[in-house]
Symmetry: C2
Subunit: 170 residues, 2 copies
């Protein structure tokens, strides 16, 4: 009887422990949704980061875009450092391109579409050029299938620029 | 004789003073070219300022653009404050739109064209909605005739947004 009680106490402790881990994981998931495959999250304060360059994406997306970088990434751009050092983060903001109602010749940002993130960690992401990818819509990561397409395209097109398309607009 | 010497000493001091003022003015002019009419200069460090929004300018200019703001202007945008408070500065950077050689659907910044500045000072620029304007090419202000066109257009089109076209892209 005594040993049965002891055993059930162990069980309660184990269950409580599992419950705590599950809750922690759930709250992490709620506060910081992470991309499949890479586990990349939206970095805090990225909207305040320095502009690297704007761009325009044609048919079928028709988006105005702006790529911003954290201080590590910006420093690498300023000093023409390739590959980008670990800790570099690039974020691409995108909006539907919309005709300005106030100036005929101008096109301005409409609704936000995707926010896309690249995080450099040469060891963690060794099989994808040292980069982890995250594509988010309304703050939520898109599915795994979409994330499978990121590196193949960057690898095929901009391997000679450390897998990064965007150049600093001077 | 003694008073004559004293008088000439005063003269030398005055002349030296005038010379110093003239040199100072010349060096100010050399280091910070100012726009005609408004006396607006390119603010230090504006390339590091926060992005307000990208845009696209169609024919005949064909430019990709990005408007950035100093902290006073950004704070006004965040809090939907109109009119913008004194000290707000907006800077529009512009580049020729150029097809990406690495991704067919993308258009990226080419050569820089103009940098345009708006400075808010309700008293100093009372006759132009409280805004002073500066348009620069290669760091030099364009001519007075071009600067005469700024306010008329802003007044005709965006008077209801404190004469500012650009909205914050969220």
């Amino acid at each position: 009887m005594k040993s049965l009680l002891a055993l059930s106490s162990v069980g309660v402790v184990l269950l409580a422990g599992l419950f705590a881990v599950a809750c922690h994981a759930a709250s992490e998931h709620t506060s910081k949704p992470a991309s499949p495959i890479y586990g990349v999250t939206l970095p805090d304060g990225y909207r305040q980061w320095e502009l690297i360059a704007p761009s325009l994406e044609g048919e079928p997306l028709n988006e105005l875009r702006a790529v911003v970088g954290n201080p590590t990434a910006i420093q690498a751009y300023r000093t023409n450092t390739l590959p980008f050092p670990d800790g570099s983060i690039l974020v691409k903001l995108a909006w539907k391109r919309t005709p300005s109602t106030e100036f005929e010749a101008a096109t301005v940002p409409g609704a936000a579409t995707t926010v896309q993130v690249m995080v450099k960690d040469a060891k963690k992401y060794a099989t994808t050029g040292g980069w982890g990818f995250g594509r988010f819509v309304d703050g939520q990561p898109v599915d795994e299938a979409q994330h499978r397409t990121c590196f193949a395209c960057h690898q095929a097109r901009v391997k000679n620029h450390d897998y990064v398309f965007t150049r600093y607009a001077r």
